[in-house]
Symmetry: C2
Subunit: 155 residues, 2 copies
DNA sequence: CAAGATTGAGGAGTCAATCTTA
DNA sequence: TAAGATTGACTCCTCAATCTTG
């Protein structure tokens, strides 16, 4: 309903109605998507999406990642990463490790407990993403989306 | 860089690498997009993107919209709308109007000052959206995106 | 009681300032 | 001095509780 209203209202913007629909459509669809997946993770594991993404990246990098590297990978500021890591450390899923060659760096690595926890969390994540995103689109749609987001990322 | 790392790392997720790239690619590209447009609006008019969108919808509805309607159109909670409206009222761009037939409803309408302010604000918005989004894609990409977001919105 | 709007509390995220080490 | 991490103060946003009116 809201979406139809939004799209049906060809505003006075400098943007053409088609361009405006592309922008607001993306904005709103993606907002709804993130809300759904975040809510599923929160409900089943009390972890927000950003904590999941951090944990997931650390699972793929057992040697650990510096806070700033982690921030680049998940697109979060160092300060936010630092606080999410605090939370994950409190849960025992992750640990901070000293760097021998440069004491300024704080490596973050997954713990055994964290590694054990990943499959269940990932199942929740994957189910939500499939249900609200993947399964609603064709393979062709997804390919197009990847092409588009790659173009946008090349800035 | 960050994007390439992200995409190049074919995680252990239940999601296929292609599906994961579509999800995270969309997540990250859209996050960056919103940041850019929001920053432009903030820098040039001291208004966040959500205030712009409210103002813009009200410009297209001179008779005014109820707070809850406005929330549906811009995809914000009623409480958030209420506070953004506070800010816009303080700036004199918008006003609250009583509803004669149902005193529970608070209509929000644009003021003359608000109407006068729209063109400059919209120019900033449109320029930012073009620069970071529209101009980076082909017409075909945008059509595909609209098709995709429509499918996603039909939930 | 239910619906619309507002307020309070709190989560998620940022930037700027600070602390430590190179 | 500058780089990496953390902390403080702030914004944006939501949910739950409250107030008012139907």
């Amino acid at each position: 309903m809201a979406t139809i209203d939004t799209n049906a209202c060809p505003t006075d913007s400098d943007l053409s109605p088609a361009d405006a629909e592309a922008w607001f459509g993306l904005l709103h669809a993606q907002g709804a998507l993130v809300r759904e997946v975040d809510a599923a993770l929160l409900a089943e594991h009390r972890l927000p999406l950003s904590a999941y993404e951090l944990l997931f990246r650390l699972g793929a990098n057992p040697e650990g990642l510096a806070v700033s590297e982690l921030g680049r990978v998940v697109m979060l500021s160092p300060s936010r990463v630092s606080r999410v890591v605090d939370d994950l450390v409190a849960l025992g899923l992750v640990e901070r490790r000293r760097c021998d060659t440069d004491a300024r760096i704080s490596y973050v690595g997954i713990t055994d407990k964290g590694r054990d926890a990943i499959p269940a969390i990932d199942a929740t994540f994957a189910a939500a993403v499939r249900r609200h995103f993947i399964d609603r689109l064709t393979r062709r749609d997804l390919d197009n989306l990847v092409k588009i987001t790659r173009k946008l990322a090349a800035s």
